[in-house]
């Protein structure tokens, strides 16, 4: 059975279909990655149109609360062996939106990220490198974000709900933290 699993992992590592969530500015790095200059298809990575078909969810940059909602829904629509790539510093710590009231700061509090690509912007080489790294992780059986999500579902849901379903103001005592004239 484990041989079968290894074989399956081998194939999964060589055929990663990607859904790119392109709200951030990082989306502009993807066309060169796909086309002649860098050609990600040689790694078996193909852009897909819907979450049903995809293996990788590539988050290209910052996510506002509204778009995070869509990303979570999209992630949950994907089928089981699935991986999330956080792209750019925005997904790591908010990047230039580090103090914004509407942009989330750390993606892996809400969905399990298997691999971060640091940089603002990461170049296509970095994206290709991440595919190779992800392939190695899959082969070693370390990229198990989807299992983590199922195991810690309550924790993820609580984090998501804290952002999505607010029933009280966030600032408990606004007069203390606001700087009124």
């Amino acid at each position: 059975m484990s041989e079968w699993k290894e074989l399956a992992d081998y194939f999964r590592g060589r055929s990663m279909w990607m859904l790119h969530y392109c709200t951030g500015c990082g989306a502009i790095e993807l066309p060169p990655t796909m086309t002649s200059r860098w050609d990600m298809e040689r790694f078996g990575v193909v852009p897909m149109a819907t979450p049903r078909q995809a293996d990788i969810l590539l988050i290209t940059g910052y996510l506002s609360i509204k778009s995070l909602k869509r990303v979570v829904y999209t992630y949950e629509q994907m089928s089981a062996p699935k991986w999330v790539l956080g792209f750019g510093s925005c997904t790591i710590n908010g990047g230039i939106y580090w103090d914004s009231y509407s942009v989330i700061k750390r993606l892996d509090k809400y969905i399990p990220v298997d691999l971060y690509i640091a940089g603002c912007m990461p170049r296509p080489e970095a994206i290709l490198d991440s595919f190779v790294k992800l392939r190695e992780l899959i082969k070693k059986g370390e990229a198990k974000g989807y299992e983590k999500y199922v195991k810690n579902f309550e924790w993820y849901k609580a984090n998501q709900d804290k952002v999505f379903r607010r029933t009280t103001p966030v600032l408990k005592k606004p007069e203390e933290v606001t700087k009124s004239a």
Binding site: Y101, S102, L171
Partner: protein, 167 residues
């Protein structure tokens, strides 16, 4: 263009040319509708934008109406100031229906009440319960630390940039 400026000055308003294709006019709150409809009748048919500036030290909001005349290739900037406490403003929806959207946005981000606008539902923000976010007295850093629970020790060793204090 000078003709417009002269005319507005003749109405007892403070009007200045800014560039050779743009002028501004400061209007008291009560006369905004009158001035806007006058400008519309003289060729400024297009309503471009409604902006709001929070003059927190003076305790006032400044509403900026941008108009454009396509015939004369001119832009008019109509400014008015309203008090910051309980800010209310007359809706310009009867002059340009388009104002509805901009007023809704300004309402959401500054909390200005537009009397006469039927649709001031939340626009961009979801479940917003704090003070409107684009007011100068809203501290976004404290807010985002509170909401996203983002502490520096959780950043995989990457430190948050030092906050640039203004003033």
């Amino acid at each position: 263009m000078l003709k417009h400026v002269e005319k507005l000055r003749g109405m007892g308003l403070e009007a200045n040319p800014l560039k050779d294709w743009e002028f501004e006019v400061s209007v008291p709150k009560e006369r905004v509708a009158e001035v806007l409809s006058y400008l519309k009748s003289t060729g400024f048919k297009a309503f471009i934008h409604l902006a709001c500036v929070d003059w927190i030290d003076e305790g006032e909001f400044e509403l900026v109406y941008n108009l454009e005349s396509y015939e004369d290739a001119l832009q008019a900037v109509v400014k008015t100031r309203i008090p910051r406490n309980n800010p209310t403003m007359e809706s310009m929806i009867s002059i340009w229906g388009l104002c509805q959207v901009y007023e809704r946005e300004v309402h959401e981000f500054f909390g200005i009440e537009f009397v006469g606008n039927p649709n001031l539902k939340p626009f961009f923000l979801e479940n917003w319960m704090d003070i409107p976010p684009l007011r100068k007295d809203f501290n976004t850093l404290v807010y985002s630390e509170e909401l996203f629970e983002f502490k520096e020790d959780e950043t995989h060793g990457i430190k948050a940039p030092k906050r640039i204090e203004h003033k």
